[in-house]
């Protein structure tokens, strides 16, 4: 870990989380389309966030806790 990355890492983690969530929301669930109902959009949003969170929790903890 060098210099500025030490301070930026928290922000970067949030960015990765949102990027993954957005990719799942639009790419897998296709919930960004105007034809999708509000309920489906909200449900897809939650599901995307949970999957993204679980994935990166696993990867970060693997990397930093060395389990």
């Amino acid at each position: 870990m060098h210099g500025i990355f030490f301070y930026l890492e928290t922000f970067f983690m949030l960015f990765i989380l949102f990027a993954t969530g957005a990719a799942l929301y639009m790419g897998i669930f296709k919930a960004h389309k105007s034809s999708v109902s509000l309920g489906a959009k909200v449900a897809s949003g939650f599901l995307s966030a949970i999957i993204a969170g679980a994935t990166w929790f696993g990867l970060y903890s693997w990397s930093y806790l060395s389990w």
Partner: protein, 387 residues
Amino acid sequence: MHSTTANISYEARRKSIWSSLYSFQEVLPGLLAMFFIAIASNNLAGVPNPFNLENLFHYLDNVIGPVNGQYVFQIFNTNFVWNAFFMGLFIGNVFGVPDSWKRGLSYIHKFMPLGIVMLAPHFIVGHAAKAGLVPILIVAAALVFTASVTLLLARFLRVDDRHASVLAGGLATGDPHVCAILMPMIKARGGQVINAFVSVVLFGAIASVVLPLIGAKVGLSPQAFGLATVSAVGNGAQAFSAGFAHSSEAGRFSIYYDVVRHVLMPAGFLYVFGVMFVRKLMFRRDPAVNATRGVDSIPLYVIVFVVSWIVASLHVVKEPAHVAIFEMVKWDFSLAAGALGLSMSVREIWDWGTWRGFALACVSGTLRIAFVLAAVWLCAKYQLFNF
């Protein structure tokens, strides 16, 4: 009529200089595609993803075992640019690219110049000083000779001048990265860049096998041969492989002298750009002159790069900052290479002459080997340095 209407509607919705840009929603799918290809290809700063192509190649390198002390995938020059490119090429050609990605992928035209500027602190000219003046002059002369010969021979082999320019840069500097660096400067097509890259890497692999055989006949000392590998083969691991194939000592001298080639690399691509830019200005109306067409003046990012290179060489950028900036370069080029791969069909790589690029690399690369061996042999004979 249609364009007038479009202009009025643009003027109506224009609020600032940023209004001409695509909206965030329009570019997001393409940017996300580049992002995920980048983190699936390379170990990038801030991303703890171990399941990527770089680590797969590293694993396979250890399964295969080293050749002349070098990893096989390193000899074939896999790195952060090409890993992302190959993944993008695979995904784009197997699964296709949705239209919604294309606006985001156009950001490659911003990422490439940005990456070039950020590369500047990587080349501290003073690091070459330890090698002494004569080795620096030999490497510089080989660089100019190879680039010039490649550009001249391209006319006889009827290779497109943009294709020849990126090939000349890659071959002369001994680094296929330069093919990608020259892409925005020369306005080369993606297919030409990849064709040139493959040609440089393949010829380098052949040269790394042939040079030790010739070196044994010429009777150079390990130190002289180490210097010859850096200039005549280049490409890092390929030069080291040639050096260690000669002897352990020659391999160590290859590593020692490689820094000279490395820090002079910008001179190589600036030379090729300068020559082709002046040529375009001289023969502006010639339809065969395509290189740098559309580049009306020296681009701002090239000027910024040169200034940054000079500033970096004066040790203004300290080592930790240099390491951090290079991590950003890895990010930048991984994103750009992913976009390049996605937006290219495999056929396009061969459209610019399947064999012509490789033939040009072989002919000018062989002349370079002869030039370097003659220069090193003469310097050793007349004791211009302590070989």
